[in-house]
Amino acid sequence: MRQHGTAIAGRRCKARLALGAAFLLALLGAAPVRATSPDAITMDVGDEPGRISTEEVRIEEGPYARQLVFFRSSDAPGTVVISTADRFLYVVLGGGRALRYGIGVGREGFQWSGLVKISRKAEWPDWTPPPEMIERQPYLPRFMAGGPGNPMGARAMYLGSTVYRIHGTNQPETIGQAVSSGCFRLANGDVIDLYARVDVGAKVIIRQAAQL
């Protein structure tokens, strides 16, 4: 046996920095997060359990901040439209308007399109790391009950019978990026807002190409 300290110091430091940043944001009250543009290089970031992001964290600045926009659609109010290419999720409000949220989407090879319905909703959902993640990070529990350190974040809306979800995140800096395995992630404060607006059974349209 040996004393082991320095080898993981960097990782622990990184985790502490993340935790510290989250606390700082929480202290600032509104806890705004600036998300980067989709033109930025695709981040190679995996889910990191345990990084803390509270319910208050939301995107407040830039194009990924939640905002009312003009939106032409023949779909009923309450319909969710996801534009993967733009990293936006719209909730149709009717009258040519929609509420737009910035999202994180699937990384290259993990993007998809289709028409599904919200089949279930959950607050602080549990998380089961995928096998390939367990292989990379064998120290992870195979199941984590929901909570602020959980990569699923504060809320989840399950998409039909697929393995994909619209969910929160404990990494709000990844909003606007292509980082996930096909799920759509929002900052916790934003997903809580969305959760209250979208019902089980709501139609979800996922588009890959940018809409002109």
Binding site: M1, H4, R12, L19, G50, M144, A145
Partner: protein, 161 residues
């Protein structure tokens, strides 16, 4: 174990030279430390046999006590992707510490505070230790000593497969 013995001996020698005598490495001296220590047994600990840890376990975690029961159930359901703990070459348990994908040989330690810890061969509670809250033949419950790590990973429940 020779490496550990060398390190332990060096540390013990350094402590002796420095006038501290409260370090008890367990395998170097069988009983409690000498009575000359001004803060008796503050850093004393004993290494326990790793046998209760050895085997296959389903692992799950929770943060809120209300989730404990269902987390135990989920731990039992993880046996198809079990966490395997083998005996190490120097009578420790081959396991991982947080945030490190490399397995290490860890020791089950009885601290001077009467609590049981799992971690490297250093006086508990070391920041890299886990406190063993519960240990039965079928169930282990552990918490990371470091508050940050504990916040991030929660309380770990191991159910024997």
């Amino acid at each position: 174990m020779s490496r550990a013995l060398n390190s332990a001996a060096a540390l013990a020698l350094a402590c002796a030279l420095a006038g501290c005598s409260s370090v008890d490495f367990g395998f170097l001296s069988p009983g409690p430390t000498p009575e000359s220590s001004p803060t008796p047994a503050l850093a004393a600990f004993k290494i326990l046999p790793p046998d209760p840890l050895i085997g296959k376990w389903g692992v799950a975690s929770y943060r809120d006590a209300k989730d404990r029961a269902r987390t135990e159930k989920m731990a039992r359901a993880q046996c198809k992707n079990a966490y395997v703990i083998a005996k190490g070459p120097t009578d420790g348990a081959m396991m991982h510490v947080a945030d490190d994908a490399t397995p290490h040989e860890l020791a089950l330690k009885k601290g001077a505070d009467g609590k049981t810890y799992l971690g490297f061969n250093a006086p508990p509670p070391d920041p890299q230790d886990r406190e063993v809250v519960e240990l039965t033949p079928k169930l282990m419950v552990m918490k990371y000593v470091d508050p940050d790590t504990n916040d991030r990973y929660g309380t770990l429940v191991y159910a024997r497969c």
